[in-house]
């Protein structure tokens, strides 16, 4: 144990420092109220919490977003204060940040034996303000970038040593990268290509190449396999994650796409986004370093591992350029058309892993080539470059985080929707006296967190049949109904159409007979059940009111199929009896007329 500690003291130091650094930043972000700022952050928290706290808890609640973040968040979101504060994200992701800095360090060490560039890579990683921000709030970005770094590390290891263990870890991290963000699926063919290339270079027989490809592929495709099977089990098919109702392409269908069909424009947007995310000097430094490395390493045995890492780390950039060109993704930057604030600017961050490695690999290479008299100044030179680069990043961090308080992130959340949802949540929290709350959760993520009511009390779209039945006759199921105000303005058509409760009931007389409006603002409405009306309806249908979920707040879970049958029986009997009565009256009338 002592030996391990001594041998790995720098690695342990990096991990511990990063954890402390991450905790401090988590505290700063929380104290400035930025932890749970965006819709996505709230949504991730909700999904993770729903895994354990839902009318239908379990894997069905994962939905069609990449699930890895939700799975690692789940143990923390199950603790209510961490869920409501958003700090569950910090608890789950600060260790991931530490893993990322360790990977950056170890990757450089795989190429050069010097500590300065290796520590420099780790330092560059943890001093980027956005890496830090996305590592202390519940978002997928840092998780994805760290999984890319891990893939790169094990790919380099595999190419260098060819050990089976590295191949298995490589497969595992490729699978995890795909589950962290769907861009990660692109790694399967990329990494497989490098695995095969290495084997061909080593003049392995076809049968061995085939065997290793199968052994790698089986693990690497687990994430993709899970996503397909999940889509079949809980959606409309294996590609539900790409084309379903809540997929990014559906959400962005009605948006203006400035990059559509223009790869040059897509590149411009991505580079501009990267400049925003990396800071003003890191993009040119990264590109220059990359070119230098390609030139200087091309005839060395370090070239293939370098090329592998480069391809893996830059793959999301390429993926996003293609997605922007093809129209399946959208990226808005304030200074480019449509000049309407920021949207998805974080796409520019995804290749930051390469940005921390490239300059430090150049530094390592330069230090290695300093011979003769220059050898004396090797460490001085290294330290100077370290101080300059990390210093520049620290200045960028200071301006972005501590001076501007993440202006871009705050600017992205200027819509009135979150504020209105928060206001409604406060009213709901004050007035709530039990019973189910009917809501389209994916569109009102702030409500479920801010109201402080256990999520098992909500009927929402991922409760499937419960939601479908409540949509047909909400008064039998929900004591409370939350919907968009039909007069809501400034939202996309997709959003309006997906809010099915408002679409179905906002203008219904029956609904307004059964519910009273409790609260309303520009975006939202909150209704409460009129118990007496439903009791009347129940007696009309001959159903015991105690069995009706909306009237009996003690009913937390119920068999939806059984209750639906009871309801149908009651309704049928009522209508049969009524028809019989009407027939009786009609017959009596005829008889009377005859008489």
């Amino acid at each position: 144990m002592k030996d391990v500690l001594r041998k790995r003291k720098i690695e342990i130091g990096i991990v511990l420092f990063t954890i402390v650094w991450g905790i401090l930043h988590a505290w700063f972000v929380y104290a400035t109220g930025l932890t749970r700022l965006s819709v996505d952050q709230n949504s991730h928290l909700n999904i993770a919490r729903l895994l354990s706290d839902s009318l239908t808890p379990g894997i069905s609640q994962l939905g069609f977003w990449p699930p890895l973040l939700h799975i690692i968040l789940a143990p923390f979101t199950a603790i209510t204060p961490l869920f409501t504060s958003g700090l569950a994200g910090s608890f789950a992701l600060v260790p991931i940040l530490a893993a990322g800095s360790l990977c950056a360090y170890k990757i450089v060490k795989e190429f050069y034996p010097y500590e300065i560039p290796a520590i420099g890579a780790a330092a560059l990683f943890i001093t980027n303000p956005y890496i830090l921000y996305y590592s202390v709030t519940p978002m997928t970005e840092s998780l994805f970038i760290v999984s890319l770094l891990a893939v790169s590390f094990f790919l380099i290891r595999w190419i260098k040593e060819g050990k089976f263990g590295s191949l298995v870890y490589l497969g595992i991290f490729v699978a995890l990268a795909g589950l962290a963000r769907f861009e990660g699926f692109l790694l399967i063919p990329i990494v497989l290509t490098f695995v095969v290339l290495k084997l061909i270079r080593a003049r392995k027989k076809y049968s061995e190449i085939e065997a290793i490809s199968i052994l790698f592929g089986l693990i690497a495709t687990l994430g993709l396999g899970f996503t397909f099977i999940y889509g079949i089990a809980y959606g409309n098919g294996p590609l539900e994650f790409m084309s379903g109702q809540w997929s990014a392409s559906s959400q962005q269908a009605s948006l203006f796409l400035p990059t559509f069909g223009d790869i040059g424009m897509s590149l411009l947007y991505m580079f501009e986004a990267s400049k925003l995310m990396f800071g003003p000097i890191m993009v040119p430094i990264t590109i220059t370093s990359a070119m230098l490395l390609v030139l200087l390493l091309s005839n060395t045995n370090r070239f293939l591992p370098f090329l592998g890492a480069l391809t893996v780390l830059v793959s999301p950039f390429v993926f996003d350029v293609l997605a922007l060109t093809q129209g399946s993704a959208v990226l808005y930057l304030d200074h480019l058309a449509p000049f309407d604030g920021y949207f998805n600017e974080r796409y520019g961050l995804y290749w930051y892993g390469f940005a921390v490695l490239a300059p430090m690999l150049v530094l390592g290479l330069a230090m290695g080539r300093m011979t003769g008299i220059l050898k004396i100044s090797r460490y001085g030179f290294g330290t100077l470059v370290f101080v300059l680069l990390v210093g520049a990043n620290l200045i960028f961090l200071n301006v972005t985080a501590y001076t501007d308080n993440y202006a871009i992130q705050r600017g992205s959340a200027v819509s009135t929707l979150p504020a209105d949802q928060k206001d409604l949540a406060i009213v709901l929290g004050q007035k709530y006296d039990g019973g189910k709350i009917f809501i389209t959760r994916a569109l009102q993520n702030y409500v479920t967190i801010e109201a402080g009511i256990p999520l098992k009390n909500y009927i929402h779209e991922s409760n499937d049949e419960y939601y479908a039945q409540a949509l047909g006759a909400p008064w039998f199921y929900a004591r409370w109904v939350i919907m968009y105000n039909p007069k809501i303005e400034g939202i996309e058509d997709w959003r309006r159409e997906s809010e099915r409760i408002s679409q179905a009931w906002a203008h219904s007389e029956n609904f307004h007979h059964a519910y009273e409006l409790v609260y309303e603002n520009k975006s939202e409405r909150l209704y409460r059940l009129r118990d007496d009306v439903v009791v009347q309806v129940a007696s009309l249908y001959g159903i015991d009111p105690a069995l009706i979920p909306s009237l009996n707040e003690d009913i937390i879970y119920w068999d939806q199929a059984e209750f639906y049958e009871t309801l149908q029986d009651g309704v049928s009997s009522y209508w049969d009896a009524r028809a019989a009565r009407e027939q009786q009256i009609a017959t009596a009338r005829i008889m009377n007329r005859k008489n």
Partner: protein, 478 residues
């Protein structure tokens, strides 16, 4: 109840060459103790399940699926744990220098038993394999027992003119017609300090006996060495390929894991090396058990002895037709059931003898557990298929949410992991071309489940029948 060391075996007094007492043999299946244990467990389980169902206000079948899910999950976890420990465990091995340093003088007499029955086709191969062994012939005490009625094999061996040190011994027709009975007949004649059994189709590594000798010399606490098995006809067809992958996993990961953890090791029927005195001490083989190897492995532990895995290969022939494979596997599974019955007659006493709860649980998992998991696999596939085809609410209701997760996790992870381990097994043995066939492993398990079902049926209908594996089919293709 007989206890180790309490009885001296009489090696000549029986008509069926069974030297063990009744309680340690499967000769009489339904001992009073067996019935008491079986009924006791069944009734206690039933009462427990009914009480649980009543107290939880649920269906008895839900309780049953819950219990099954936990057992399945536990079996998967245990096996994964064992494999993890065994994956990189260094087996007992010796360098060429160490082997070269052995002088002929120091080597003890080594008995080699080669029981043959209906093996005329492979006689030249076995004689070549045995004469190739790197061990001085004057120190080899080789006995080849032949059945009196098996004239073809007797003739074939006469025609082959084996060297003098290979003694043939014609044994009388005595039931049960099993290999352990044959071994028991000739065992009193064994002269060697050590003893190994080779089947008709085996080609052991040339230096295996010397390695085993060094193994015994350097490990006085080890009573038995199990070697690693390999198939020389692995490429014959898809079945032999899958069989070979299973063996790679079993002998390279699973058995070393059992050894590392100090658990009892179920032996294989050949290429197992013993200290002769130990075999004598424990009463030799159970003539009636059709997996006498597994039984002997357990009995060794009951008597306080240990088994280790020797890093030496024995090449054997994989059953190459589905019929032959099913017959062989039925016999093995039937033998596992017989071994379970014998050793669980006095469960607590057995637990104390075998080395406490840890080893007792390991026995439960590796012997009856192997039979059970094959059954549970079959049941899981049938239930899954039935649910997929019918969408039955009844089936759905059997699996409450946590149990559904537990079952699905164990089932999916189990299938993936053990399929993958089979692939790694072949990969590690440099059989790269087999790896792709490993993807068919789940189909192979279906055959296994069928053979297990057949074994259970035979346990009641034909308990002692020895469905002999056909050897030499690979020679027909040459």
């Amino acid at each position: 109840m007989e206890r180790p060391g309490e009885r001296q075996f009489n090696w000549s007094n029986t008509t069926d060459y069974l030297f063990l007492s009744d309680v340690l043999s499967i000769k009489n299946y339904w001992h009073k103790e067996t019935l008491v244990v079986a009924f006791g467990i069944t009734i206690a389980s039933a009462i427990f399940a009914i009480l649980l169902a009543i107290s939880l206000s649920t269906n008895i079948f839900v309780i049953l699926t819950t219990i099954i899910a936990f057992i399945y999950f536990a079996l998967v976890i245990f096996k994964v744990w064992v494999v993890k420990r065994g994956y990189d465990y260094a087996l007992v091995d010796f360098s060429q220098d160490q082997l070269d340093a052995i002088t002929d003088e120091e080597l003890p007499v080594y008995s080699v038993l080669v029981p043959l029955r209906d093996e005329a086709d492979v006689i030249p191969q076995i004689i070549e394999a045995m004469t190739s062994l790197d061990y001085p012939s004057d120190k080899i005490d080789m006995i080849i027992p032949l059945e009196t009625y098996d004239t073809d094999t007797i003739q074939a061996i006469e025609d082959a003119r084996p060297p003098e040190y290979m003694r043939t011994r014609i044994i009388p027709y005595i039931t049960p017609q099993t290999k352990p009975k044959t071994l028991n007949i000739i065992f009193p004649e064994v002269r060697g300090e050590f003893l190994v059994i080779y089947d008709a189709e085996i080609i052991p590594d040339r230096d295996q006996m010397k390695k085993a000798y060094l193994g015994f010399k350097h490990n006085p606490g080890i009573a038995c060495f199990q070697t690693r098995l390999e198939h020389y006809n692995a490429d014959q067809n898809i079945l032999t390929k899958l069989f070979n992958m299973e063996f790679s996993f079993h002998y390279d990961f699973f058995l070393p894991g059992l050894q590392k953890l100090g658990f009892p090791i179920p032996l294989s029927g050949h290429s197992t090396h013993f200290r002769t005195e130990v075999v004598r001490e424990i009463g030799a083989w159970d003539s009636y058990n059709v997996a006498e190897d597994c039984d002997l492995g357990m009995r060794l532990y009951r008597y306080g002895h240990k088994t280790a895995i020797l890093n030496s290969l024995s090449q054997e022939e994989a059953a190459s037709s589905i019929k032959s494979w099913i017959q062989q596997r039925t016999r093995w599974m039937k033998g596992f059931i017989q071994t379970s019955i014998v050793h669980l007659r006095h469960p607590l006493h057995f637990k104390n003898q075998i080395g406490g709860w840890k080893n007792f649980i390991a026995f439960l998992v590796t012997v009856p557990g192997t039979v059970l998991i094959n059954f549970l696999n079959l049941a899981s596939w049938i239930i899954l298929a039935a649910w997929l085809l019918s969408g039955s609410n009844f089936i759905q209701d059997l699996y409450t949410t946590p149990i559904l997760y537990l079952s699905v996790t164990a089932f999916v992870i189990g299938i993936f992991l053990f399929t993958y381990l089979n692939l790694i097994g072949s990969f590690n043995r440099n059989k790269h071309h087999l790896v792709k066939y490993g993807l068919l492993t789940p189909l192979y398990w279906m055959l296994l489940a069928y053979a297990t079902t057949r074994a259970v049926y035979q346990t009641f209908t034909n308990p002692y029948v020895w469905e002999k594996t056909e050897h030499g089919t690979h020679l027909e293709n040459k």
